[in-house]
Every structure is written in structure tokens, then in C-alpha cells.
């Protein structure tokens, strides 16, 4: 990877740059979705790119690449996501945007039964270079149908890969890798990260799908964060340091493949684990990582593998409820303190 000419970009700008650079590099890359440009059908009034995406992650693409490669769609997720899979199977490299992960119910069949299974069912005859962009994350008063973080569902489905970038650098590197990947990849953008800034190389670069990274080194406990929860973990770690607990923080970055080895190597040194997951607790990534650590690193543990997650409820609307729904520093700190109180 080259790291020359680094400058600060927002998370949303890093996403936009990755798409733009891959569309420049490879003319078979196309993107489709609802409102990714916006104002479709009003070109005769001089209107183009009216929205640039609901969160402006796709702004400017239609002006650079035209409406044959940047395709605004009717509200028909099953049809256009299925079409993106069909186009990927016949020679295009496709990106489709599902506006919020909560909407996956209307198109899940295409992801579950076609994208995930075609290569296997067909005996390897087909490759599906298909990326699904979608959004997760609570904290915006958007209630239960626009705020969920259902990535664990996709971790569960063989045939799909999944990534959960946490900052502008990982946003660009993982999206570049996802678009170039010959397997279907679900790319989870967190709504709470779009405005965050950070250094991003100007050149295209890939970060490997399936690799976690350590964002804070420590010796006493391993905290694993997923997407925005990584920064809840680092904030908690700074606080814990004041009481003499030196936490290591791992940013998971991929939900399929899961980088178990990175976590287990850390736990073998720290002997304790807390996974912080914004998704609900049952059959979650957090429970999966805890189970694998218990299975493969049992003898190294000084305390039960633990998790801090959302409760087993839908995302509530009222802020007082939503603030209690999301994992926060306080819950992480208290969970860690309990583990140390066991002696």
C-alpha cells in the first residue's frame, strides 16, 4: 500500500473517493440505488445529482460517469439488488445501495438465495463481484425501522463477506477492497461516523477483508469494538487507564471472515475479553467471538468472555430510551470493572 500524499477526509468523503477511483479504474464498475444521484427524471429542467445520496456519499458520481453507470432506481430493492447480482454474474462489477439495513426484509431473498449461493450451487461457474452498500447505527431519533445494526445476520450467511469500517482510512481501504473483490461483500456504513475526519491517502489502496487491527495496545484486558463501538472502547480504555487498567482495543473491521486469531492472540496476553457490539445480543458477533475464545483460549482466561451490546429490543425512539439502548463508555467500564472484581 502506498501512503504518499495523505490528507484529512471525512468518512463520507472517503467512501465517495473509493467509489470514484474504482469507477475510473474499471469501466465495468456501475452503481445503482435509490437517490444515489437524486432528481431522476428532471434532467430536462437542468436538475442532476439533486441529492448525491441520502448521506451524500455518492455526490458527483453521476456528473462524472453519467446515468448509464450511476443508476438511480425506482423504490424496488428486490428488483435492482437482484439485477445488480445478475449483472455481476454476467460481466459487470456492481455496487448497489440499500439505504438502511432495516430495509433488507424486502430484498433479503436476493442476498440470501442468489448472491450468497449462486457460486456454490453452480459448482464455481460464476463469480459475483457485487458490493452492497448499506447503513447501520442508532443515535439519531430515527426509531426502529431506520436504526438497526443487523450485521450479524450477514456474518451468519455462507457465501457473503462483510466489512464494518470505523474511520475514513478504513472506509476507503475496505471499500476499494470490497469493490475489487470477486465475492459478494456487504459494506456497512455507520451513520454516526460520516462527519468524522482522518488521514486518507489520495491513491487507491486496499485493506484486507477479514483482518482486524489493534488501535490501542494494552496488557490487562482486550476490548473488541465493531464499527463505531471501536471508539466507545478507546474512550473507555482511556478512562480505565486512570484506575490502572491498561486495555487493548481491537477494531474488528470485518464480520465475515471474522479475524478470530487477532482477538485470540490478544486475549492470550491479556487474559480477559469484552466485545462491544451495537447489534442485539442473541446470536450476535459478540456472542460468536466470546464462544470462539472460550473454545480456543479457555486455558488463558482469567474471567468469562463478556459482551456489552444493545438489549434484545427494537431501537426505541425517545432519546432517553435510545441513549440507554446503545452501548456506551459507562457500560463498558462497569463490565470491565466487574471482571476485575472477580479477582
Amino acid at each position: 500500500m502506498t501512503t504518499t500524499a495523505t490528507r484529512e477526509l471525512q468518512y463520507r468523503e472517503a467512501i465517495n473517493e473509493a467509489i470514484r477511483q474504482e469507477m475510473e479504474r474499471d469501466e465495468t464498475v456501475i452503481i445503482m440505488g435509490e437517490e444515489i444521484a437524486g432528481g431522476a427524471g428532471r434532467e430536462h429542467l437542468g436538475i442532476v445529482d439533486a441529492w448525491g445520496g441520502p448521506f451524500r456519499t455518492t455526490v458527483g458520481l453521476i456528473q462524472q460517469f453519467g446515468n448509464q453507470r450511476v443508476l438511480d432506481t425506482p423504490l424496488s430493492e428486490a428488483a435492482f439488488i437482484g439485477a445488480a447480482i445478475g449483472a455481476a454474474s454476467t460481466g459487470m462489477r456492481t455496487i448497489a445501495e440499500l439505504m438502511f439495513i432495516d430495509f433488507v426484509g424486502v430484498c433479503m431473498d436476493q442476498l440470501l438465495n442468489n448472491a450468497a449461493k449462486m457460486r456454490y450451487m453452480f459448482g464455481g461457474q460464476v463469480t459475483l463481484p457485487f458490493t452492497l452498500l448499506t447503513r447501520i447505527g442508532a443515535g439519531f431519533g430515527s426509531a426502529a425501522q431506520h436504526s438497526e445494526s443487523y450485521y450479524s445476520i450477514f456474518s451468519h450467511i455462507p457465501g457473503l463477506k462483510g466489512v464494518v469500517p470505523s474511520d475514513p482510512y478504513t472506509a476507503k481501504g475496505l471499500l476499494t477492497a470490497a469493490i475489487r473483490d470477486d465475492d459478494p461483500v456487504v459494506y456497512f456504513e455507520h451513520k454516526g461516523l460520516y462527519g468524522n475526519t482522518g488521514p486518507v491517502p489520495e491513491e487507491p489502496y486496499e485493506l484486507p477483508i477479514g483482518k482486524a487491527r489493534t488501535v490501542r495496545e494494552g496488557t490487562d484486558i482486550t476490548l473488541v469494538g465493531i464499527s463505531r463501538m471501536t471508539w466507545v472502547c478507546t474512550a473507555a480504555a482511556e478512562e480505565l487507564a486512570k484506575s490502572g487498567i491498561n486495555a487493548e482495543v481491537i477494531d474488528l473491521l470485518s464480520i465475515s471472515p471474522i479475524d478470530y486469531d487477532h482477538v485470540i492472540d490478544s486475549v492470550k496476553r491479556t487474559h480477559r475479553l469484552v466485545v462491544v457490539d451495537e447489534d442485539t445480543p442473541i446470536c450476535s458477533i459478540a456472542s460468536e467471538i466470546c464462544a470462539m475464545v472460550a473454545d480456543e483460549a479457555f486455558d488463558y482466561l482469567d474471567a468469562p468472555p463478556s459482551k456489552v451490546t444493545a438489549p434484545h429490543t427494537p431501537v426505541p425512539y425517545s432519546r432517553v430510551l435510545e441513549n440507554n439502548y446503545m452501548p456506551n463508555e459507562s457500560r463498558v467500564i462497569k463490565t470491565v470493572q466487574k471482571l476485575f472484581a472477580r479477582g
Binding site: 435492482f80 455481476a88 460481466g91 456454490y120 464455481g124 460464476v126 463477506k161
Partner: protein
């Protein structure tokens, strides 16, 4: 309708090959204990035959659970299909898919599909590829009267119409979705009526008459290749057997009805229409029948003599790239 002699013989050959595959392949697969999920298309042969006569290997076809006939008409080798049904590594899908997922990308065959109507948007996507790359190819989405009621069909018809894609939505209306009749489940007299909602031609023809299908398909393909957009083509047909091999259709339809439709066997109708014209003799067609029978014997022999998969093949072709260890980690596998 002016169809040359070679084309006539090809239509007949395709129909009897499909019929023989269904009549021989399905029971032989059952006898080998390979699958309970087998759906015979016997009786419906005229539809894929008339449709695919206008397609080349470069064109695309997305199929259904009752898709053996679609595969044969699109040019998939019956030997590879038989081996697939028998679960052999030489099968079209290396024994990974079976009857409901037969695919051959070299023939534009995007798979039979086990979820009703799920393959329809794949054809829309293939048509998008053709349009964006300027390939001049068309894509055909097969579905049944059951699939006609799935939402994804309606979304797909709208999208294909909005984007003016070279797609043919081909409904094989065999009058029963499992055991539920179209009289009950369809809100319109014809599936083709629904085309009006998507600003495309909606045509319904006699699906037991291969010439009627051939003519209608010719127009739909011409429209698609000319860049004029999609067509909904409904072919009224009949399956001679039940939904699957375990279904006794006399639980929901009458013997008289079955006899009527058996009397309209598309192969029989073809012979009755063509032989009196004098250009093609009954003996020639009988010879094609024998060759189709022989082809099935060869396909069965090929499949039986082909190797079964090694257990480790379980892990192959899930992804292009993914650590194999990660496919079985924590699963306490024996292989």
C-alpha cells in the same frame, strides 16, 4: 408462419429430448435415492422450445424449479444434467446444485432456481449487462403462474420497462401453483393482462402449440434486440404430472381434465400439424424419438460411471477467496 425444414426438425428434437429427459431422468434419479425435489416439465415442452429457438448461446435465460426443459432448449448437454441429478462431479454444477440449480454459464443458462420468481431479477441484470456493454443479447426470465403473483416479478417488470431493457418475461402458465388453481390465485383472466401496468406488450398464446410460441417469441426477441424494451409473454400449458414426484394431481384436478390436456400433447400436435404437409415423414420423426431415447441411455450411463464428489469438496466454491479453515472453524467437522 414459415419455418424451414431444419428448424422444424430442431424444434421436434428439442421437445422429444426434453420429454425423454423427464420420463427417464426423474425416475432414474429417484431410484438412486438422490433427491425428492424433482419437478417434471413433461407436457410443457413447446414453451422453452419455441422460445429458445430464437436465442443463441450468448443470450441469457433465468429459470425456475421446473427447469430441465429450459436447460435443454438453451443447449445444456443432457449428459451433464443427468450427472448433476445423480450428484456426480461431472455434473453441470459438480454435483453441488441438483435439479433446482442447473446452470451452464457457457450457454447463458443462469440457473434453474428453487425459490419461486427469485431468478427473474437476475435476467433483468443480465439484460442490463447486455445494454451497458452493447452486446445485443436478450435475457429471458421464465416463471410460472405461481411466480406471477410474487412481488419481485412486478418490481422487475417495472424496472425493465423504465430502463428499456432487452428482457422477455415468459410465463409458463401450467394452471396450477402446486395444487392451487389459477382460477383461485390469479386476479386477472390472463397473466399477460398485467403487462398493461408496466407499459409493455402482453401476449398470451397456446403453450401446447410450439408454432404459436415460436411466432410470439420471435416478435418479443425482435423487440428486445431492437432496443424497444421488454415483453410479457404468457404461454398456457399443462404439466402432465404432479408438482413433484410425490404429488398425486388427481387430488386437485380431474381425470377428464388431464385427458383433455394429454390429448393436446405438444409433441403429438406437432406431428399432426407437420406430417400431413408431406415434407417431413413420420419415419423421420420416429427416428428422432429413438435417438432421444438413446441419448438418455448414454446420459444415464455417463452419469453412473462418473465419480461421486470427495467429502472435502463440501468446502469448495463457497467463495472465490476465503480461508477454508474459516468455513469449518468451531463446527467439529470430520473432513
Amino acid at each position: 408462419m414459415e419455418i424451414d425444414r431444419d428448424t422444424l426438425l430442431k424444434l421436434y428434437t428439442t421437445m422429444v429430448t426434453i420429454r425423454n429427459f423427464e420420463e427417464r431422468g426423474i425416475p432414474e434419479t429417484g431410484q438412486r435415492g438422490m433427491s425428492a425435489s424433482l419437478h417434471s416439465s413433461a407436457g410443457q415442452e413447446a414453451v422453452p422450445t419455441g422460445m429458445c429457438a430464437h436465442l443463441t448461446d450468448d443470450d441469457y435465460l433465468a429459470s425456475t424449479h421446473r427447469g430441465h426443459g429450459h436447460c435443454i432448449a438453451k443447449g445444456v448437454d443432457p449428459k451433464l444434467m443427468m450427472a448433476e441429478l445423480f450428484g456426480r462431479t461431472t455434473g453441470s454444477n459438480k454435483g453441488k446444485g441438483g435439479s433446482m440449480h442447473i446452470a451452464d454459464m457457457s450457454k447463458g443458462m443462469l440457473g434453474t432456481n428453487g425459490v419461486v420468481a427469485a431468478s427473474i431479477p437476475l435476467a433483468v441484470g443480465a439484460a442490463l449487462t447486455s445494454k451497458l456493454k452493447g452486446l445485443g443479447r436478450v435475457a429471458v426470465a421464465f416463471f410460472g403462474d405461481g411466480g406471477a403473483n410474487q412481488g419481485v416479478l412486478h418490481e422487475s417488470m417495472n424496472l425493465a420497462s423504465v430502463w428499456k431493457l432487452p428482457v422477455i418475461f415468459l410465463c409458463e402458465n401450467n394452471q396450477y401453483a402446486e395444487s392451487t388453481s389459477v382460477e383461485y390465485a390469479l386476479s386477472t383472466a390472463h397473466v399477460a393482462d398485467r403487462a398493461a401496468g408496466y407499459n409493455m406488450p402482453g401476449i398470451h398464446v397456446d403453450g401446447m402449440d410450439v408454432f404459436a410460441v415460436y411466432d410470439a417469441a420471435e416478435q418479443a426477441v425482435a423487440r428486445a434486440r431492437a432496443g424497444e424494451g421488454p415483453t410479457l409473454l404468457e404461454c398456457l400449458t399443462y404439466r402432465f404430472y404432479g408438482h413433484t414426484v410425490f404429488d398425486n394431481p388427481l387430488n386437485y384436478r380431474t381425470k377428464e381434465e388431464e385427458d383433455y390436456w394429454r390429448g393436446r400433447d405438444p409433441i403429438k400436435l406437432f406431428r399432426e400439424a407437420v406430417i400431413p404437409q408431406g415434407d417431413i415423414t413420420a419415419e423421420e420423426l420416429d427416428q428422432i424419438d429413438r435417438e432421444a431415447e438413446q441419448l438418455m441411455e448414454e446420459a444415464i450411463k455417463f452419469a453412473d460411471e462418473s465419480p461421486l464428489p470427495e467429502p472435502q469438496e463440501l468446502y469448495e466454491d463457497v467463495y472465490v477467496s476465503y480461508p477454508t479453515e474459516a468455513l469449518k472453524r468451531g463446527a467439529s467437522m470430520e473432513v
